[in-house]
Symmetry: C2
Amino acid sequence: MAFAKVYVTLKEGISDPQGLTILRALKSLGYDEVEDLRVGKYMELKISGDDPEAISERVKEMSERLLANPIIEDYRVEVEE
Amino acid sequence: MAFAKVYVTLKEGISDPQGLTILRALKSLGYDEVEDLRVGKYMELKISGDDPEAISERVKEMSERLLANPIIEDYRVEVEE
């Protein structure tokens, strides 16, 4: 049994209206020190198997095919046993 | 200047229909080894200031007030200089 974490973020240069909305809300609450905010997705997967490298490869494949949109998003995979 | 990362996840026991939908889609693509999947949010903040502890406290306050819903979500804050 292993746990994989997948972090999906928008590529640089891709506009992030959700992040901009949250940034404005923070400023309206007085958090003027926040200069930028970007929103991403975070997924935790519970996976059967015990070869971290093989699992990492499979999760990268899942990310390319389904979990992320590689045209506009970057992703990062971490596997913990 | 510092960077803060905020990870927001649903508390245990709170149902995650988005995660369930992705889990089913993965299984339909043949990824039968995935036993569970939970979806969270991930935010990257660019913040002025240079005291990591003070920044961390402020970001935790932002999380309580706006970035997370503490009733159904947990959050974790990391600050990098």
